[in-house]
Structure formats: C-alpha cells, structure tokens
Symmetry: C2
Subunit: 229 residues, 2 copies
C-alpha cells in the first residue's frame, strides 16, 4: 500500500517525475495511499483539497454543477494524471467535484509539503505550468465545440476521444465504464438524446454496444460526423 514514490513508475507519467530523489523521499514520507471504489467521491465542489492526488490506477470524472442543477463532466482523469494542482496555487476551495468511474488507486500528497518543491525546484514548477497550459488549450477546444457543434457532432468527437485514450487494443471495449448519463454529461445534453444518438450510431455500425461496454468500429466516419460531414 504505502509504496515508495522513488520506485513508483507512475511518477514518470506526470510532473512528479521532475522531482529529485531526495524530494521524492520526503514526499514518500508524507503521502497517503487509498483505494477509491467506483462511484465514490474524491472531493466535492466547494471543498478545500489542500494537496494533489496522483492517480496510480483507474479513472475518474471531474464535474461541475450548473445553476440549472445538472452536472457537467469537465474532464476525465486517468492513470498517471494529477488532480488538484490548482489547490496548490490558489487558496480557494475547489470549483470541481471528482468521482471515481472505475475503481481507483490514488496517492494524496499534502499541499504544505509539495508546495516547498514548487518554490524550490524550477523543473517541477515548469512541468506543472506545462500541464496547466495544456489543460487550458484543451478547455478552449471544448468551449468551441460546445458553443458551435451539434450534439451529434459532439458525441462523435467524444467517442473518438474515448477511443484514443481508453481503448487499450483494437476490437476491445473501452476501458472506462461510462453510463449513458455520463456520456450525456460529457457532451452536455439530455440522457435520452445521448441514448438515441448512440442507438443510431449502433444501427449505422459506427459503434457496438453491450450494456455499458462500448466498442468503436468506424473511426473514419465518426471523424467526418464530428467535423460536420
């Protein structure tokens, strides 16, 4: 359970890989490890996180509640990602909620410790900076898609994104247990609309569905739909 950060392969996947051996040893001493079951909440909107989570395994959704009462999935987090970087930088409470979608294994590194490294290790800081910049770019892309594309286009886009990031090998289902409601909350539509479109994609043999399992069959055509025929 409390394995050592210096030996953890996961750190190679994110900014923690920039830390020195000594820094990692210190982090190892203060981090905590936990298993999070599917459906359980890592942190709530409005909560002070005061640290970062490093995802060793599993997937979680990061959501925000709209004033109209519906959850919107803002991004998906998987093995190797960090969550909660913003809590290191600002003193505010989290504006987002994180919920496990598959069973997860995560480490939690308290803010006061990791902030030391942020102040002293420039490589680490620059790496975090790069992460945020990438997230920002992706967020901008999502904004444009949400604002300009139809639900059908967004669904096609989302499926392609899921295939790219969560399909381990061709002809295998996606390695992420999304409910239809989750899918609707990614593309920002009613669950029924998402279901209807999924069925139509199934009929056109673009995807294959078995319960929650999704197999993507025809990425090319999906790509065309995503870009508007």
């Amino acid at each position: 359970m409390s394995s050592r950060c210096e030996q953890c392969i996961i750190r190679q996947l994110n900014s923690l890989g920039e830390l020195t051996k000594d820094e990692l040893l210190r982090i190892s001493g203060c981090k905590t490890s936990q298993y999070v079951k599917k459906g359980e909440v890592l942190f709530e909107e409005g909560q002070y996180i005061n640290g970062v989570f490093c995802v060793k395994d599993g997937v979680c959704k990061v959501t925000k509640m709209s004033t109209n009462g519906r959850d919107q999935i803002v991004k998906l987090i998987k093995k190797g990602d960090l969550i909660g970087e913003r809590s290191l930088i600002s003193e505010e409470a989290s504006n987002l909620k994180a919920t496990a979608i598959n069973d997860m294994e995560v480490c939690f590194i308290p803010k006061e410790e990791i902030v030391k490294d942020l102040k002293s290790n420039n490589n680490f800081t620059m790496s975090i900076l790069k992460d945020l910049a990438t997230s920002l770019k992706e967020a901008d892309n999502v904004i444009v898609d949400m604002a300009q594309k139809t639900v059908k286009q967004r669904l096609a886009e989302t499926l392609l994104h899921l295939k790219k990031n969560y399909q381990v090998s061709e002809d295998k289902p996606l390695d992420i247990q999304l409910s239809r409601e989750d899918i609707a909350n990614i593309i920002g539509t009613a669950t029924e609309s998402a279901i209807r479109l999924l069925s139509s994609f199934k009929k056109e043999k673009l995807i294959s569905l078995k319960g929650k399992e999704i197999y993507i069959l025809d990425p090319q055509t999906l790509q065309q739909i995503a870009e508007g025929f």
Copy 2:
C-alpha cells in the same frame, strides 16, 4: 513610445510586477511597443508567437475557428492583461487568434528574454502559474455554461460579465465596441438569434442600445435570467 518598463504602471496589474528592477531594465531593452488599430490582428491561429504581449490599453478578442467555419470568442483581453503566455511554455504554434476590438497599445516581449526570468525568478513563475490556474477555472465555468444553459441565459450572463469588466461608471455605455456578431460569437449562437434576444432585453428595459453602445440597466433581473429564473 518606447517607455521604460520599470516606470510603467501597467506591470503592477500582471505578473510582470513580480520582476525585479534589474530584470525589468533588461526587458525594457528588448521589448517593442506598437499601436494596434481596431480590427487589426495581433496574431493568427497557427502562428508562432514567441513572446508575450502586455496590453497597455484597449481591448482585444481571442478567438478560435470551429471546424464548421464559425469563429468563437474564447475570451476578452483588456488593459493590464498578458496574452501569449502559453507560447513561453510550449513549443507549439498558437491555437488562438487575437484581434483588436478597440484601438490598442501593446508591448511585445520576446520569448528568449522573458523565459530567462521564468527560469530564475520563482515569484514570477508562480504568478504566471496563478494566472493560468485562474484562466483554467474560468474556462471550466464557460464550458458548463455553454453545455447547459440556453442562449438567453448565456446572453444575460455575458452582459453582466461585460458590465463588471467594461463599464467604467454607472449609466455609461460599456467601454468596449462589440458588434452584434461579436456578441453572438461570445455566446456561441447565430447573429440573428443574438440580435433578437438583445431586442427583447431592450423592450423589457433590461438594457439600452444605441448602435454598438450598450448600457446595462437592470443587473438584478439579468442575474435572475442567467441563473434560470
């Protein structure tokens, strides 16, 4: 024109305020100043910026072209803001385009010089980090609004946002010359839809319109509309 950064008040408004006197002197020596007329383009999507712009005066829109061919305004930039921070961090071309909305006065600081400070001055780096974190949070909010709210709600929200950031004093028009098309491109809708809603807001005495000049009359009611009655 080529005033000295150490004496420029604008730097207090952004991360450049974290630089030391010596650093500012160096930046002063390599920066260039320029006036950008309304409608002129600061940089294009796909262009390598290789530096940051510091906005001394005026407003510009930052847009991204959707695959369907319509521009989406991702954010508005005003006096005191920096644009192009991302170019310092990533080696990629810009994913966004910047166009002046009002006449502008901007300074351009080349990447190779400012990156030195990013590597050596931790306060500066942390300040940039904070900026990006804030932008990311705001982008998340926009995603949720785009995905979940109606065009009417988004227009009300946008008007309130504009009032907050661009109305110098009560009962004065907004200090930003937005066309109806711009407004439509902020809220992600057709120009005609935006116009129609603006007219209805005008009839309900929530706002007042004189050409491009917009006066916000009733923020309370707009707030209610933005949050869904």
